[in-house]
């Protein structure tokens, strides 16, 4: 099994300078995520069998990863939220709000005359701020996360529509399009951003005190509080982090579409939660896996890609998708059970 997993890893792009870090990351994740890796390998086999070289082609792999990038980055943030047994339905709307805010005429004019970086910063700032509002309401207002973020989902989307007047705002700042939309070392910048956020998220969750406290709060908030952890402040920070990730997703999507629009990220919240949950993070909190989330996102985007390559009827795709989700989870469960038995 481990050999097939390694085969898969070779196809997956990893920046050469991160080789050893990646290896480290994978070792930790490999055992727990065997089922997901297997599912991904099976998908890869399916893709190669049905679409041959067109699937295994490096361009195509890059297409898959590029597609996964935006959802992926937002999912990293959501992994933290779900690890503390929360839920964030507002990420798609926050992404839209961030994208729209960063691409207003005046914003673009300012960015044009100074640096494109301000567009990215605006998107991230707006995202983090919206996330912070969620966090304050949830942590200090004690409104359950489902309701708070549902409300934010409506409000942020509405605000995005008002700001953009429901027009798609076209980005004319060349610096932005060239840098964020371009390549670095032959790899699309948005893919690099995804890798960066994923690695950063992994380190944050698994190698820092912040991550430790996140797990503790998710596992037993009362125990965390009695151990002197500032549960409220931490919770607030995690929703702000999720907002920040949505903001990062926003400028990635801006680069991908060359636009900011109030319709960006529609339905993203469910895709994100699905990827995180497929990845093994428990909705009941206490367990979260960034590596699993990345695999979950890749599984979904590979699925979309295989469907596109194979010219399946649209409705059949939906049915197949449903079946594949359940099968993937059943495989994962079986393997997990077998592992803990040995």
């Amino acid at each position: 099994m481990s050999t097939s997993a390694e085969t898969e890893l070779k196809t997956a792009p990893s920046p050469p300078r991160r080789r050893s870090a990646m290896k480290w990351l994978l070792d930790a994740g490999l055992r727990r995520n065997m089922g997901l890796i297997l599912a991904l390998v099976l998908l890869a086999v399916l893709g190669t069998v049905t679409a041959g070289d067109r699937f295994a082609d490096s361009n195509n792999v890059m297409t898959i990863v590029r597609l996964a990038a935006v959802t992926g980055v937002v999912s990293i943030g959501a992994t933290f939220v779900i690890t503390i047994a929360g839920i964030d339905l507002s990420v798609g709307a926050i992404l839209a709000l961030s994208a729209v805010w960063a691409t207003t005429l005046s914003g673009q004019a300012f960015a044009d005359s100074t640096s494109w970086i301000f567009m990215a910063l605006t998107a991230m700032g707006v995202g983090a701020a919206a996330g912070l509002v969620n966090g304050i309401l949830i942590a200090y207002g004690k409104v359950v996360s489902f309701i708070t973020t549902l409300a934010m989902m409506a409000a942020a989307r509405g605000l995005a529509e008002i700001i953009s007047d429901k027009k798609t705002q076209i980005i004319t700042v060349d610096g932005f399009l060239e840098t964020v939309g371009g390549n670095l070392f032959g790899v699309p910048v948005i893919v690099l951003v995804f890798v960066f956020v994923a690695v950063g998220g992994w380190v944050l969750l698994n190698r820092t005190t912040f991550g430790r406290r996140t797990f503790a709060i998710g596992g037993n908030p009362e125990a965390a509080r009695l151990a002197g952890i500032k549960v409220e402040r931490h919770t607030m920070a995690i929703y702000a982090l999720a907002g920040l990730c949505a903001g990062i997703g926003a400028f990635m999507l801006m680069a991908r579409t060359t636009t900011g629009s109030a319709t960006h990220g529609t339905g993203l919240e469910l895709d994100v939660i699905a990827a995180v949950v497929i990845g093994g993070t428990l909705l009941t909190g206490g367990r979260g896996s960034i590596f699993g989330t990345v695999l979950g996102v890749l599984i979904f985007s590979t699925l979309t890609n295989i469907f596109t390559l194979n010219n399946l009827s649209l409705s059949v795709q939906l049915v197949a998708k449903g079946a594949i989700i359940v099968i993937a989870v059943l495989i994962q469960r079986q393997l997990a059970a077998r592992q803990s038995r040995t």
Partner: protein, 512 residues
């Protein structure tokens, strides 16, 4: 109740129940190995063993909650296969589980009749249930527990009573009690024993699990001892087996002195914890006391007398109405556990599962929860240092199994308690608040925990112990505060008090 029927059904001599060659494996561990066990009608059969010996596992197999990998269960000499708790219940086996098996969001009456609701055509008859529940509770000496109270609002002791009422609400031939006395005070335990005697008189068999040997003496008929998943002694008659032998069987060594000698507090010891005019909740009297470095202060009293609430107000889990708590003269922010922990205070709460443990996490994570910053440089944790520190705790606390990478969930109750203690040991405290530190802890581990506490006291840590076992309060503490109905009714050095005196004080308090 159907005591008469039960008597009729079970011939008094023959075994009511027999378990043969039971084996139960969990991932990575064999919890039970070739265990045989028998109970006769009308007897109280005690099951003894250290934490993690497999007592709860054995009775869960019997109750149909676990399926054994090997072995058979015979009821009235006929083999039965319990594939679910339902089967066992139907066969007349009632169980009070160690981890309270109640639904906190349901009412007392609803819990009592869960699974055998009184109903007409599927519609529940709530009045009938409430009447019957009230009758059962009154029979147990607790008419004050109202059938339509939510169980979550009851104290652990109250919940234990409900659990008892529930076991009695069915027609039972065998009742299993897994450490029922752990959350009860002496008064309640006496009450419980009355009930047990009534049951056995009616021919019902009782399996009784407890870590308190003195209870076994009072109520038990025969004893079976488990050690590391095996039955090391079966059917010992209670009257002919001295404690020393039991302890030897359980632990493999002899423990003669449970309580270590109490070292005197240095006369010049500084006052570490000071509580001034603390009003815990609206309507309560202000409380003041102080604890010096190396001093162990005990809070004695009945269950529900408000000792946990006092600890909570000191630690900041609840915000007191008024008053101040200080450590080394510095005042703490009221209602802030963060402020308390930062000032060097630690709390081992009474509900270790819901309040203290990260059940799904490793022991390492549990140990370092409060002190994670210490193993980190610039926020990045060092797994190696954490592991080493945890390993040290594991050794110091003699945890079984001695594996810091294990999940807390898979540990037995006593070992879990040690983990919570270990958290504050590795954190290093000026003041340690211990709420029922020996609840559910076996004899061996208990003496280890007492030794630990004594050691901490010698190291100059101020300690406050809440305990419902008077023996423990007297044997462990320098000073004792007697609490009754949220008031401190008496303060005296432990040496000047006896169990009787305390009980009298407590009773006086309640009648006042």
């Amino acid at each position: 109740m159907s005591d008469d029927e039960a008597t009729g059904a079970a011939p008094s001599r023959a075994h009511l129940l027999e378990m043969r060659g039971i084996e139960k494996r969990f991932p990575g561990i064999i919890a039970l190995q070739d265990v045989s066990f028998e109970v006769s009608a009308g007897e109280v059969h005690c099951l003894l063993g250290q934490n993690g010996a497999g007592k709860s596992t054995l009775i869960k197999v019997l109750a149909g909650a676990h399926r054994p990998n090997e072995g058979q269960i015979l009821l009235d000499g006929k083999e039965v296969g319990f594939s679910s708790p339902d089967d066992a219940i139907k066969a007349g086996i009632g169980t009070m589980y160690q981890e309270l098996d109640l639904v906190e969001t349901l009412t007392v009456a609803e819990n009592i009749f869960l699974g055998h609701e009184k109903s007409r055509g599927g519609f529940s008859s709530r009045r009938a249930e409430q009447l019957e529940a009230a009758r059962l509770l009154a029979g147990l000496g607790h008419p004050e527990i109202s059938p339509d109270m939510e169980v979550g609002s009851l104290s652990a002791a109250g919940q234990q009573i409900v659990s008892m009422a529930r076991a009695l609400s069915r027609e039972v031939r065998l009742i299993i009690m897994d450490e029922p006395s752990a959350v009860l005070d002496s008064e309640e335990v006496r009450n419980l024993f009355d009930t047990v005697r009534r049951l056995t008189a009616g021919g019902v068999a009782v399996i009784y699990i407890s870590h308190r040997l003195e209870e076994i003496r009072v109520i038990g008929d025969r004893i079976t001892v488990l050690k590391d998943g095996r039955a090391v002694a079966s059917n010992l008659p209670v009257s002919e087996t001295p404690n020393v032998e039991l302890i030897k069987l359980m632990t493999g060594r002899s423990i003669t002195n449970v309580f270590p000698p109490v070292a005197a507090v240095a006369p010049d010891a500084a006052e570490v914890l000071s509580v001034t005019d603390l009003v815990v909740a609206p309507g309560h009297e202000p409380i003041s006391f102080s604890v010096r470095a190396g001093e162990v202060l005990g809070l004695a009293g009945l269950v529900g007398s408000g000792r946990s609430e006092i600890l909570g107000a000191i630690y900041g889990t609840t915000k007191p109405v008024s008053g101040a708590v200080g450590i080394d003269g510095r005042k703490l922010r009221p209602g802030s556990t963060v402020s308390a922990v930062n000032a060097g205070m630690g709390l081992c709460p009474e509900e270790r599962k819901s309040q203290a443990l990260l059940l799904d996490d490793t022991l390492v994570a549990n140990f370092t929860l409060a002190s994670i910053g210490r193993y980190a440089t610039a926020g990045f944790t060092s797994g190696k240092r954490e592991y080493q520190a945890s390993m040290e705790q594991v050794r110091k606390l003699e945890l079984r199994p001695a594996d810091p990478a294990r999940e807390a969930r898979t540990l037995s109750g006593g070992n879990q308690q040690k983990v919570v203690l270990g958290r504050w040991l590795s954190h290093g405290c000026r003041v340690l608040l211990l709420d029922e530190p020996s609840r559910g802890v076996d004899v061996g581990a208990r003496s280890e925990i007492y030794n630990l506490i004594a050691g901490l006291s010698r190291a100059g840590i101020a300690i406050v112990v809440v305990s419902s076992e008077l023996e423990e309060v007297l044997g462990l503490c320098h000073e004792v505060l007697v609490v009754s109905e949220n008031r401190i009714v008496h303060r005296a050095p432990a040496g000047e008090l006896s169990e009787h005196q305390i009980l009298d004080l407590v009773m006086e308090g309640t009648t006042l």
